[in-house]
């Protein structure tokens, strides 16, 4: 019961760090969607770009997160504000699932349907917005869902460079060997991940083409 007592005692700070955490995850996911979906569409259209783009996103994914935060720290504009840096790093990690699922979703549309659309005189644009994207939307969204869940976890590490978020509690708890503090960061982060997963999963099912 000590843990709940601690949370109640510090609810102001828990709330603040949770909001910071949400901000990091939200902005980075938004950026990843804005960059990743067009990239996914591009490599679905021009398969020549498929390998380099996916390989690039894959390589980023293999860089350990602490190392990536460290690498980016000396970069001029980024290093000035650590939350910028954290958002960039989280965006880079979120790219792969978004790009890959956009690609898979669009390539997964029944070729007969695409050909029928083309044969009826839809332009590339009309085909994309009226047929391919609506039919791929649930696959794309499941990529976003994966990206968000990964980001919620990764964002705890952003506290290592002082970017805030629920990781603050975790790192402080580690330094002070205080399990309550660690849990005060980890439990809300886990709850956030779960909530994001459930709500995006629900939207995904609603949007799935019948």
């Amino acid at each position: 019961m000590n843990f709940f007592y601690f949370i109640m005692q510090n609810r102001g700070q828990v709330l603040e760090l949770t909001l910071e955490h949400l901000w990091l995850v939200g902005v980075s996911t938004l950026l990843a969607v804005l960059v990743g979906i067009p990239l996914g569409i591009m490599i679905a259209r021009w398969p020549r770009w498929n390998k380099p783009v996916l390989a690039g996103a894959n390589i980023i994914q293999t860089i350990p997160s602490l190392a990536l935060f460290g690498f980016l720290l000396p970069v001029p504009w980024l290093g000035e504000r650590v939350d910028r840096l954290a958002i960039l790093a989280l965006t880079l990690y979120a790219l792969l699932p978004v790009i890959r699922n956009t690609y898979t979703g669009i390539r997964g549309v029944d070729p007969a349907v695409v050909e029928a659309g083309r044969g009826m005189g839809l332009t590339d644009r009309q085909l994309l917005f009226r047929v391919e994207l609506p039919l791929a939307v649930s696959v794309i969204l499941s990529g976003v869902r994966v990206a968000v869940v990964i980001s919620v976890g990764l964002a705890t590490i952003a506290a290592a460079i002082g970017a805030g978020g629920l990781g603050e509690f975790i790192f402080r708890g580690l330094a002070m060997v205080n399990n309550q503090l660690i849990l005060a960061g980890a439990v809300p982060a886990a709850i956030l991940a779960l909530l994001a997963d459930l709500s995006l999963g629900w939207i995904e099912r609603r949007l799935r083409p019948r």
Binding site: D110, A112, V113, E115, A116, G117, R118, G119, M120, G121, L122, T123, Q126, R130, V131, P134, L135, P209, R210
Partner: protein, 258 residues
């Protein structure tokens, strides 16, 4: 109707060849024309190049040699061209996320028809292809194969194109439904006299629906004959088809609409 003036032809293939991007020669030396209001059947086995020939008409593919003229023109705005040609494929290729109504209304919608006109048109088309009005709000997955194919035909007819391309539209249907749709196709064609190019591997279907049958084999046109001549032809490939399907000269007559 015996005039040979070029504007009698809705579609002309002039020495057309097509080599696929992988370097395979799919069509060579194809010369063929389709008169306005006629139904030309492209008959052949899979790999004979009949579907390729069809896709050259609405330029889903471009010839690597020769030219394909539609209404006398070999070039022009491809999007305009496709919207003026109805396209029906096997399994209909309906958009699964659209209702029957939106499927049928697609070309009129992107062409910017007023809503009232679209609704009226959809209602008329459903009746023409023999579907009840309440089908309009269904999704393709809720329809039977025959119903889907009817919607496919209605969708192709939506903007009232003069030319209709049909790629094995009835092949995946059970024999009874196929027979029904073939019969309705003939009745429709009698009213509307579209220029139709119809791809099939079924000689019976070809004899029944075609004004002329173009037999294709290995990327070449073997012969073009009216159904009644096809069954009597001494061309070895035509004769092989007639033997394989066990049809006699009598069969050509019962399906003949003209």
């Amino acid at each position: 109707m015996k005039s040979t003036a070029a504007d009698d032809f809705a579609i002309e293939f002039r020495d057309v060849s097509y080599t696929s991007p992988t370097g395979q020669q799919v069509l060579s030396g194809l010369n063929l024309e389709v008169r306005r209001g006629q139904t030309l059947v492209l008959l052949g086995r899979s790999g004979s190049g009949k579907t390729t020939a069809l896709k050259l008409v609405n330029r889903l593919l471009s010839p690597t040699g020769g030219e394909v003229r539609v209404n006398g023109l070999a070039a022009g705005d491809v999007i305009r061209l496709r919207r003026s040609i109805g396209y029906v494929i096997q399994d209909a290729g309906l958009f699964p996320h659209f209702t029957v109504e939106r499927n049928i209304a697609l070309v009129p919608t992107i062409e910017g028809w007023p809503e009232e006109r679209i609704r009226t048109r959809v209602r008329d088309l459903l009746q023409i292809v023999g579907l009840e009005a309440q089908m309009a709000s269904r999704y393709p997955r809720e329809l039977s194969g025959g119903q889907r194919q009817r919607v496919g035909v209605a969708r192709a007819l939506a903007a009232d194109p003069a030319i209709l391309l049909m790629d094995e539209p009835f092949s995946a249907l059970d024999p009874l439904t196929r027979d029904e749709l073939q019969r309705e196709f003939l009745a429709l064609q009698q009213q509307m006299s579209k220029t139709v190019v119809f791809v099939t591997h079924d000689l019976r279907e070809a004899l029944r629906l075609g004004s002329r049958i173009a037999l294709m084999e290995a990327g070449r046109l073997v012969t073009v004959l009216p159904p009644q001549d096809f069954v009597r032809s001494d061309d070895p490939w035509a004769a092989a088809y007639v033997r394989a399907f066990g049809v006699g000269p009598a069969s050509a007559a019962d399906g003949d609409a003209s």
